[in-house]
Structure formats: structure tokens, C-alpha cells
């Protein structure tokens, strides 16, 4: 199972480190990562493999949202199927 992690918000130091450490602790393996800064706005999209995830995807999504609040960012974790469904025929 794969999921897409999206991190957006005002740019600050160490965002990638904090998010990737957290994901790694949960057993999520980052397969692809892309990041851009638009003005002061930070956008990072990661493809993560959850085959070795400890716990449920819904729990990870909740925990990441909480982490986002702590570091002043918005973090989404979504099953890749939603994007495949909506954006391909």
C-alpha cells in the first residue's frame, strides 16, 4: 500500500527532517520526494510505502495532522487510490 504525504505551510528550518524522521519511526518508507518553495510558501509531496506501517493508515493520517499543527504546517496523508481514481480514466 502506498500513500501520498503532502506538507504545506510557511517555510521554516528542518521541516523535511522532522516529517521524514516521524514517518520513518512509524514504519513508512519514503520512495519519492519533491519539494518547492513558492515565495515563503513551502510545498512538499512524498510518495511513501506503507507495507511495514505500524498501525492503521487512518491513525497515521491523524498523527501526521497533529504533528503538522505542532510544527506550524498542514500535513495530509492520503491513500494513493484517491488520486488514481480522480485523475486517471
Amino acid at each position: 500500500m502506498k500513500a501520498v504525504v503532502t506538507v504545506t505551510g510557511k517555510d521554516s528550518k528542518g521541516i523535511i527532517a522532522k516529517v521524514s524522521t516521524f514517518l520513518s519511526e512509524k514504519g513508512a518508507n519514503i520512495e519519492d520526494i519533491s519539494q518547492t518553495i513558492m515565495g515563503e510558501y513551502f510545498v512538499m509531496i512524498m510518495m511513501v510505502n506503507l507495507d511495514e506501517l505500524k498501525g492503521e493508515l487512518s491513525t497515521l493520517a491523524k498523527e501526521c495532522a497533529t504533528l503538522g499543527k505542532q510544527i506550524g504546517m498542514t500535513i495530509y496523508v492520503q491513500h494513493e487510490d484517491i488520486f488514481n481514481a480522480m485523475h486517471s480514466i
Binding site: E56, S58, Q78, A85
Partner: protein
């Protein structure tokens, strides 16, 4: 494979444009619950509904988190209750209470199916059942009722139409302390569908599988946003934009419906491709019509704009889902759409224009407040007009009208939440009673004889 742009677009749809799955509705057949007595039947109904839908709230919450798309309502629809109570119709309220209790236990929003299908004729047990609707809606919280009074195939049962005018008034009267809220939980149909996931008109048809999952998608805000990005598009292009957007919205619904069915051990029923508004700003069907170029909804051009919107939504949605059903189209409830509320408050939209709009959209006269002293026969006549549009045009039409007891034109009813608020709108004050009191049946139209 999706791109970065696709990911951000999906998130923007949810964050800024109110994309959501409006409802996951589990349809449950109650035919196996019929017992010798009302008391035993009620117990069996309560137990079955609680068992079948035990995990609906948790599953919806899990799916919502996993896909990052809000799922607003969790609901249950059941076999029309009049079929369960044929041998003890005066005790039907016991079943109503059991269903309402089950809805509270499960933590779902609404449960639909306190219903009777009398489009061709009304048995005595059905008349007694329908007469229990007012007290049941007044004494329950989450139960919804519906009555089918006509169909293209069988014509319009004017005896039922006459009765329903009185029932709407009685429900409103019994709940007048809450702005006649009971009437918001009651709908009368022509051509009712058996797999509708939306309330108040959801029931689980007898032709359906034992347990099914039907999903209603929404997203007026997403459609409006897509049109805003192309302010100079001609109407051919605008229709294409709506189609493409409806496709994406429906695909999300299809994914959720299939996964929910799997987890809840039910059959995947249908996706209902409806643009269902809410009173929230940015979640309005009226705003789409205004974005297309109307100064205010209700003006000339409204019917054609709605016709185009409704058709484009269906075309995009049908491509996106393997099974489409329910009502599928744009809803135009007055109290649940901020654009419609504003137009009604400003006197820019009338009951007559709303009736015209219902000939091209998916449902009917929905969540419209009228003066509390409107005669029952006038309400029946409004229902009969609406049923005629459905019967002749081979489509579902419905009336969910609120006779606001103690209120007059210019006053307001306010239900809060998704049901919203509505200004009391004027009705024609001419007398239709002689026509309604004739009773009988209006024969099925010639084009229904297709065999």
C-alpha cells in the same frame, strides 16, 4: 500516474471548495423482521438495524481519514415500513420508535424509510399508516418519512395527494414550537427511486439486495471554482468544464462506495451524482448558476442554466461510476443553499419559478417554507402540479414543503445545521379545493404504454 498538480488540486478541492462525500447510506431490507405482533417486529427491527450498520460510523471515519476527503453524513435506509405493519398499521409508531432508537444507538444522522408507496392505490392499512406519520415525526429525532403518490407508469393517486396535503399540515402543526421542523423530515414523491441515498426521501426498495451501500457525492463549490477559472468560456466549453469536474467528484464517490461496501460486508449499490448544496458559503448550486452569468438565481435564464448544469453533471458522472442511481442531478432546496436563501429573501425567486426549475433538475420543490395558514388543499395542489411534472417527464419529482405554522410571508423558519433557514414564500391564494376534493386517479400518460 497522477502528478503533483493533481495532488494539490485534490487538496484544494477539499480545503477551499467544500468537496465532500455527502452521504454513505446503508440500505437494509427489513422484510425478515415481520413477526405476529408489532412489539416483536419492533424489537427485531431494532436488533437487525443495529447489527447490520454497527460499523458504519467507524468505517466512514476511517475512509475519510485514509483518503483525506470528508464524509459528512452516515445514514440508513430501510424497507418501506408500511409493508411491515400491514397487519397492525395502527401500531406502526412502535416500529418508528425502534428505528429512531436504532439511529441514536448507531450515532447516524438520519434513518429513512417510514414510508408508503401508494402511487396506484391506497389500501386501508396504508391509509392508517400514513395517518401515523405526523405523530411519529413529532416524537422522533432522526427518522424520515416519505410517500410515493404517483408514477409515469400508473398515473397520480389523487386520494393520496389529498391526504398528503393534510399530513404536511398536521406534521407542521405538531412541531410548530420548532419552526414546524417535522415537515422537513417528510417528502412526497412521484416516481420515487428505490436506491436514493439522500434524505428525507431515502428508503430501501423491495427490489434491492439485502444490504447495500449507496453513496451520494457532492461538490457545488468545486464546479463553481472550475467555472471561475474560465470566466470567458462559451457555454459549450462551460458544459465540458462541468462534465470534467463531475467526473472527478464522482470517481471519489465510487472509490469510497466500493471500499465502504467491502468493509461493511454489503453490496455496492449505486453512486448518486448529485450536486447537493449546504447553507455554507461556497457550497451553493445557485452560485454556479450565477457564475454562469445570471445576476441572481430565479431570473430569466435560470431554467436553461440549470438544465445545462444538470445534464453535464450526469454525463461526467456516468462515465466515472460503474453503477449510477438515486436521484442524480442538481438539488435546489431553498433553505439549504445560501444563494437560494438570498434570492428568496430578496423576492427574486418565486414558487412558480422553482416549479419550472424542477422540470429540468433532479428533484423538486425542496425545503420551501410557505405561510402556516395555507389550506391543505392548496398544498395538495402544489404537490399534484409537481407530481404531474414528474409523471409526464419520466423523472422523479418531490415536494418537501414546510407550512410554517404561525408565520406569514416575510417571516423566517430556522432549523440550523444542514437544514438551514428559509424565508416564508407566498403561494397563490386562489382556491384549488374543488379540484383536489374530486379525488380519484389521474390516468397514466399515453407515452407510458411502451410494452
Amino acid at each position: 500516474m497522477f502528478t503533483k498538480k493533481d495532488v494539490l488540486e485534490t487538496i484544494a478541492m477539499v480545503e477551499e471548495e467544500h468537496l465532500d462525500i455527502r452521504t454513505i447510506t446503508m440500505g437494509i431490507s427489513l422484510l425478515s423482521c415481520i413477526r405476529d405482533s408489532a412489539e416483536e417486529t419492533a424489537l427485531s427491527v431494532y436488533n437487525l438495524v443495529c447489527r447490520k450498520a454497527e460499523n458504519i460510523v467507524k468505517t466512514a471515519s476511517d475512509l475519510s481519514r485514509e483518503y483525506g476527503i470528508p464524509i459528512v453524513n452516515k445514514r440508513v435506509s430501510v424497507t418501506p415500513v408500511s409493508l411491515l405493519t400491514a397487519s397492525f398499521p395502527e401500531k406502526a409508531p412502535l416500529i418508528g420508535k425502534a428505528l429512531d432508537d436504532a439511529a441514536c444507538t448507531l450515532g447516524i444522522d438520519f434513518l429513512g424509510g417510514y414510508s408508503a408507496l401508494v402511487h396506484k392505490g391506497m389500501a386501508e392499512y396504508e391509509r392508517i399508516f400514513i395517518n401515523t406519520i405526523p405523530e411519529v415525526l413529532a416524537s422522533t429525532k432522526r427518522l424520515c418519512a416519505s410517500v410515493n403518490v404517483g408514477s409515469t407508469k400508473s398515473g397520480i393517486n389523487m386520494e393520496a395527494v389529498k391526504l398528503m396535503g393534510e399530513i404536511f399540515k398536521r406534521v407542521a402543526e405538531l412541531t410548530k414550537e420548532e419552526d414546524s421542523l417535522g415537515a422537513a423530515k417528510l417528502v412526497a414523491f412521484c416516481n420515487a427511486v428505490e436506491d436514493n441515498p439522500f434524505m428525507a426521501g431515502a428508503f430501501h426498495g423491495v427490489g434491492e439486495a439485502d444490504t447495500v451501500i449507496n453513496v451520494g457525492v457532492s461538490g457545488p463549490g468545486v464546479v463553481k471554482h472550475a467555472l471561475e477559472q474560465n470566466p470567458y468560456a462559451d457555454l459549450t466549453e462551460a458544459a465540458e468544464i462541468i462534465k470534467r469536474t463531475a467526473f472527478k467528484i464522482t470517481r471519489a464517490g465510487q472509490l469510497v462506495a466500493k471500499e465502504a461496501a467491502k468493509r461493511l460486508q454489503a453490496q455496492f449499490g449505486i453512486v448518486d451524482l448529485s450536486l447537493a448544496p449546504t447553507p455554507a458559503v461556497g457550497d451553493s448550486v445557485a452560485a454556479i448558476l450565477e457564475e454562469l452569468g445570471l445576476e441572481v438565481v430565479g431570473g430569466h435564464g435560470t431554467t436553461v442554466a440549470l438544465a445545462m448544469l444538470n445534464d453535464a453533471v450526469k454525463k461526467g458522472g456516468i462515465m466515472a461510476s460503474s453503477r449510477v442511481g438515486g436521484l442524480s442531478g442538481a438539488f435546489i432546496p431553498v433553505s439549504e443553499d445560501i444563494g437560494m436563501i438570498r434570492a428568496a429573501e430578496a423576492g427574486k425567486i418565486s414558487l412558480d419559478k422553482l416549479e419550472a426549475m424542477t422540470s429540468v433538475c433532479s428533484v423538486g420543490l425542496d425545503m420551501i417554507a410557505v405561510p402556516g395558514d395555507t389550506p391543505a388543499t392548496t398544498i395538495s395542489a402544489i404537490l399534484a402540479d409537481e407530481a404531474a411534472i414528474g409523471m409526464i417527464n419520466n423523472k422523479t419529482t418531490a415536494v418537501r414543503i414546510i407550512p410554517a405554522i404561525g408565520k406569514k410571508v416575510g417571516d423566517q423558519v430556522n432549523f440550523g445545521g444542514l437544514l438551514g433557514r428559509a424565508p416564508v414564500m407566498p403561494v397563490h391564494n386562489s382556491d384549488s379545493s374543488r379540484f383536489i376534493l374530486r379525488g380519484g386517479n389521474i390516468p397514466a400518460p399515453i407515452h407510458s404504454f411502451k410494452n
